[in-house]
């Protein structure tokens, strides 16, 4: 009973080449966008735009090229847990370095 249900749930999904082509096109557009943005003077927003575009590209690759959008809940949870742990570690480290000389500048 549950076996059958699980099998249906994890039915292997073949992603079509059309989606790969669209993703490929999107990645090229975002690459052009990020290079173009680096030539525009935006002050503090230059690095923010660059990292934002990089994050969008990474999410597209993870969802479609790496099939996470079509994967089992276990895979999705694994990926999210990994990103969460990484973001936690990096923000705690940066918070430490930012606040270490707090009030002494």
């Amino acid at each position: 009973m549950t076996d059958q249900k699980e099998m249906e749930e994890s039915q292997h999904h073949v992603v079509s080449p059309v989606i790969y082509l669209i993703v490929f096109g999107a990645l090229l557009v975002f690459t052009a966008l990020t290079v173009g943005a680096s030539y525009v003077e935006m002050g503090i927003f230059n690095p923010i735009a660059a990292i934002l575009i990089a994050c969008i590209k990474a999410v597209i690759v993870v969802l479609f090229f790496m099939h996470v959008k079509y994967s089992s809940k276990l895979t999705k949870l694994t990926v999210i847990a990994g990103i969460f742990t990484f973001v936690t570690l990096i923000s705690m480290t940066l918070a430490d370095y930012i606040s270490r000389a707090w009030g002494r500048w």
Binding site: V14, T31, T85, L89, Y97
Partner: protein, 255 residues
């Protein structure tokens, strides 16, 4: 000798075990093919998470040092050529696309298509490393490799350096100029580790091309191609972050 081997293996070949028809590639400790594929995919993702943490440490070091020695990092990053960086990004994204198409070919059992995709991925990967070699060669010639022969000339006398003139760099004070070496240490550590991952990937691709020609991945068992695809896309994602951080974000920082 051969007799004892035959006896040791005999329980597996015994008829009572083959109560159900199953493909030869299904290992006996799995219930079915789906479970086996899920387990392999899960394990691959766990490995990739350790890789995320590994590169994450390098990225964190880069962010902290960039904040500490900001003028040095800005001047040093002007030494990188955006043209080569962009071309390499395009090569790597294309190779990710051909790899994704390779996985599709394996899933739909197209042997010729799979071999073609793997060969294209292989060539694009080699192309990436070739361009990286051109960039490294320039760094060696300008003595921008950290170590005994490191030269501060480009940062103390920017008007003698073509790339520095183009970016409009002003001379850095000596103590700040010295910290450009930190930038290049991180540059070589990060792009070097990324290139090592590319070299390992290309070696596995070479092996896979031969196996694919023998029809190994187009008979229903695609786990190896799929998991290698995950690895290759991960290496692509690392570059997606390296490219803006090393090449792009400091373009305007001193005008």
């Amino acid at each position: 000798m051969s007799d004892s081997t035959a006896i040791a293996h005999s329980p597996h070949d015994a008829p009572e075990h083959g109560h159900e028809e199953h493909p030869a590639y299904l290992r006996h400790h799995f219930e079915n093919v789906e479970q086996q594929a899920d387990a392999a995919g899960f394990a691959m993702w766990l490995f990739l998470l350790t890789e995320v943490m590994f590169f994450g440490g390098l990225f964190t070091a880069y962010l902290i040092y960039r904040n500490w020695y900001y003028p040095a990092f800005v001047a040093a990053s002007h030494q990188l050529d955006i043209f080569w960086g962009t071309l390499n990004t395009l090569l790597l994204i294309s190779s990710s696309f051909t790899m994704a198409m390779g996985v599709w070919c394996a899933e739909t059992r197209k042997k010729q298509g799979l071999v073609l995709c793997l060969v294209l991925t292989f060539i694009l990967g080699i192309g990436f490393l070739g361009i990286k070699t051109i960039e490294y060669k320039e760094k060696i010639e300008k003595h921008h490799v950290p170590g005994f022969h490191y030269s501060l000339n480009s940062f103390l006398n920017p008007d003698t350096d073509e790339a520095a003139v183009k970016a409009g760099d002003k001379p850095l004070p000596l103590d700040m100029a010295r910290h450009t070496e930190v930038y290049f240490s991180l540059y070589f550590a990060m792009t070097g580790m990324h290139a090592l991952h590319m070299i390992i990937g290309i070696a596995i691709l070479g092996f896979m091309i031969f196996r694919a020609q023998a029809g190994a991945y187009t008979a229903g068992h695609v786990t190896f191609v799929e998991n290698f695809g995950l690895y290759w896309h991960f290496v692509d994602i690392v570059w997606i972050f390296l490219f803006p951080l090393l090449y792009l974000i400091s373009r305007h920082a001193n005008t």
